[in-house]
Symmetry: C2
Subunit: 477 residues, 2 copies
């Protein structure tokens, strides 16, 4: 069979052992920190009903859902219905990739793959009422799927790490989730990150103060969100293109500190003066100040930075918003905020919620580029081998004895030349290797890695001596 | 929206926090044991190409694949092709659930969901040659999907835990994988399990010795596999129905120790005498004896039990086969064997392989029924709360101080009455609770669970005193 078919599907990845160890290291740290903050794990199925998913992520999101085929008899009906649907030319849409018929898809299947972790959370909150605490602090680390065109750093299957508090409107939540995110970043080895902080109601107040009509509010927020990417002039053009008058446009840019000869992004104090007469804006500022006061003793304190230009693209935020950033990566390593209208969508009641998501794939990219993975991710403590087939039984007994003492032992099931064994152990970064040779009835040979590279061999040791020397060696290294 | 739509898709499950903690406990133990045996983690995408999956699991398997719809323009073409396909009545199949057209599915999509972990392993071995060691010891713990009719204990999404050695034909592998499986079972708390052991070549030799034609070999193995379910008479009927003559049938049952007045399943010594003149049978017996000798020092030694009636249903086994069983569950908690023909399917070369899979869902069922989950799966060390909103900031500072000392702290973001807090902590099985009340400027109150149930409250403690008492309490409990 051709080799090409042995590659994973485009946009998906095989994670070989070193990849998995690195990914598990990062998710392990995140999990530990989230749990230390009292967040509890939730896992939901990869497969959701299409009507649970559709209409939650906008038109583009609906297009990016992976849809699953019905089986058997309903499929025959579905094909007939879809065929009739497609025969009606008014259902066809001309697009970049040719003629499409989006409405035909639900006729062929009623299931889809999980697109994010927020909609499943909302479904769980509605579906398990009474079984969950009134204030539900949950985290969820699972893959999601998007039928996107695969590209550099854009995958069809990737992980999200979400933590959210559902059912509490206290600002303590904002301080807790940013604190937990900061602690996870710190434990992963990041020191130089910033957590930008803003408030949707503050942005809305500024948009109103600039004289922009409420109907253009969302457009204005989307435009501001692009500041990092397109710069001040780009935002100005975008605002105008979306129908904001030149006067309002300039006033908004001035309020955001993006005027031609501005002194840069304004402080919260400066904004406060500008919004002295705006009650909703003052209330938002008051919330931001409370969050920063509450956060003083959290790991986020040194990293939180008010930034009035932070907008976040998604429509559903209602209060504080935040984004985790490092200097050497465009875009963010995570973000979130308060979204009080979303979680109640399946239960038909308002449920306050606030959370943050860490972007696992991006964090991994930055850690790889900076060489931030710990050396201690070696798979085992020692590799044990036999120089010839006759010693395999002896090697196995020795491996068993070492494992009973708690060591992680890779027993090689095929005979291996001692030189090759040491060489491989060396290049794999293993702390030690042990091998049995012919004519060594009582003993085996031990190779111990030296801190400066290479290693020392001690010959003819009995099992007890090997164990003792290994333990001492592992404690030191 | 109706509550029903908030339930997960039939055959899939939401795992609430306690479920996840229990599942993570079990997979964590399995992972640790597999890694202590030098097996390395592999993860593959949920989505595979349909042509990677189709034809690997038999006709029934092909039917149970979840297939994913093409998007956009190809879908329009696909619907037209599928419609033409269905219009041809010779492509329609009358089945239990009505008219089906299995061949239409690939016209509508070319992707499917992972059905097991073995085919992806075979694909990875072919696709990453040179990047993997010549002897690849891998484990993989991931969900798989089957479009089966959901039922009691039968899920559409469930986990498999596989460990396999690819590239080595040494019997050390059989001893290692059964040893690792036994150690995982032992650490989970199982003491009374058996690992039944047999050899496919031995079964084939017995079938031949019974005078059954080689063309009926697979049928005979499938019939023997049903012994647990349908009993001796059922197997006899099945053998006859599949074309085995009464004479051969009786001889086979005699060789398997299933004759009318037999003394039960024969020992390996008895089989050896019966197959004295059969070289292939003797070779298989020799391998079984070697495996048992090699296993003497492994955790499997006390559990391995030769059982000539073990057949395992799957066609691909070529050598030793094994199955993990406990008395109180029909069916097995895991199983595997040597399958030297399967892994090379994508690379077009023969690759020896042997492995075992542990059935996570069944292990969880037995552990739940027997109450085998450890108590230590409590989510946090202490819950911290404020009796009224004004103390929330103080509670947050205290939570931060305790977390900096390494404690896992659940800070409740809403004010909570002390009585309710203690009650909840008690019913959740938490070791301790702390709360701040009005008019306690310097201190807080600490509730410590008593081993016999209930707890003691100590009032007005400063942060340092709370930390010290908590630490002492956690060490004791």
């Amino acid at each position: 069979m051709a080799k090409a078919t042995a590659q994973p599907v485009k946009g998906t990845r095989d994670f070989l052992p070193l990849d998995v160890r690195r990914r598990n290291h990062v998710t392990g740290v995140i999990r530990e920190v989230f749990e230390a903050h009292g967040f509890e794990p939730l896992e939901t199925p990869a497969i959701e009903r299409l009507d649970t998913l559709m209409g939650k992520y906008g038109d583009e999101g609906d297009q990016l859902l992976f849809k699953i085929l019905r089986r058997g008899q309903p499929l025959v009906e579905g094909v007939r219905e879809a065929s009739a649907f497609i025969a009606d030319e008014s259902n066809l849409v001309e697009g970049r990739s040719g003629t499409t018929a989006p409405g035909a898809e639900p006729l062929l299947g009623d299931l889809g793959l999980r697109y994010d972790l927020t909609v499943p959370l909302a479904r769980v909150v509605a579906g398990h009422q009474g079984k969950l605490p009134a204030v539900f602090k949950r985290y969820q680390i699972q893959p999601v799927w998007r039928a996107d065109t695969p590209g550099k750093g854009r995958f069809r299957e990737f992980y999200q790490c979400d933590m959210d508090v559902v059912g509490a409107d206290s600002l303590v939540v904002e301080a807790e989730v940013t604190g937990a995110a900061a602690e996870a970043m710190r434990r992963l080895g990041f020191t130089d990150f910033a957590i930008r902080l803003n408030h949707r109601a503050l942005l809305r107040a500024l948009i109103e103060a600039a004289g922009i009509d409420a109907s253009l509010e969302t457009s204005a927020i989307v435009a501001i969100d692009k500041l990092d990417k397109v710069g001040r002039d780009g935002v100005a053009r975008e605002l105008e293109a979306r129908g904001v008058s030149p006067g309002s446009r300039d006033k908004l840019l001035l309020l955001l500190g993006q005027d031609d000869d501005g002194d840069g992004t304004p402080t919260l104090q400066q904004i406060k003066q500008n919004l002295a007469e705006h009650p909703a804006g003052r209330a938002a500022i008051d919330e931001l100040e409370q969050v920063m006061t509450l956060a003083v003793d959290t790991p986020a304190a040194a990293h939180l930075r008010f930034d009035v230009t932070l907008a976040r693209g998604l429509g559903y935020y209602t209060g504080c918003i935040f984004e985790v950033q490092v200097a050497d990566l465009a875009g963010s390593l995570g973000g979130g905020g308060r979204y009080d209208g979303l979680i109640g969508m399946f239960s038909g009641r308002d449920v306050p919620a606030c959370g943050i998501t860490l972007g696992l794939e991006r964090i991994l990219v930055v850690m790889a580029e900076r060489g931030m993975y710990p050396d201690s991710l070696v798979p085992v403590d020692v590799v044990v081998a036999a120089a010839s087939g006759e010693q395999l039984g002896g090697a196995m007994r020795l491996a068993g004895a070492l494992r009973r003492e708690g060591l992680r032992v890779d027993l090689r099931p095929r005979a291996r030349k001692p030189g090759k064994l040491r060489q491989q152990a060396d290049s794999d970064g293993l702390p030690a290797a042990v091998w049995l040779e012919r004519d060594q009835p009582a003993g085996a040979n031990l190779w111990l890695r030296k801190p400066e590279g290479g290693g020392d061999t001690i010959r003819d040791l009995e099992a007890d001596a090997i164990l003792q020397r290994l333990k001492t060696h592992l404690e030191k290294s």
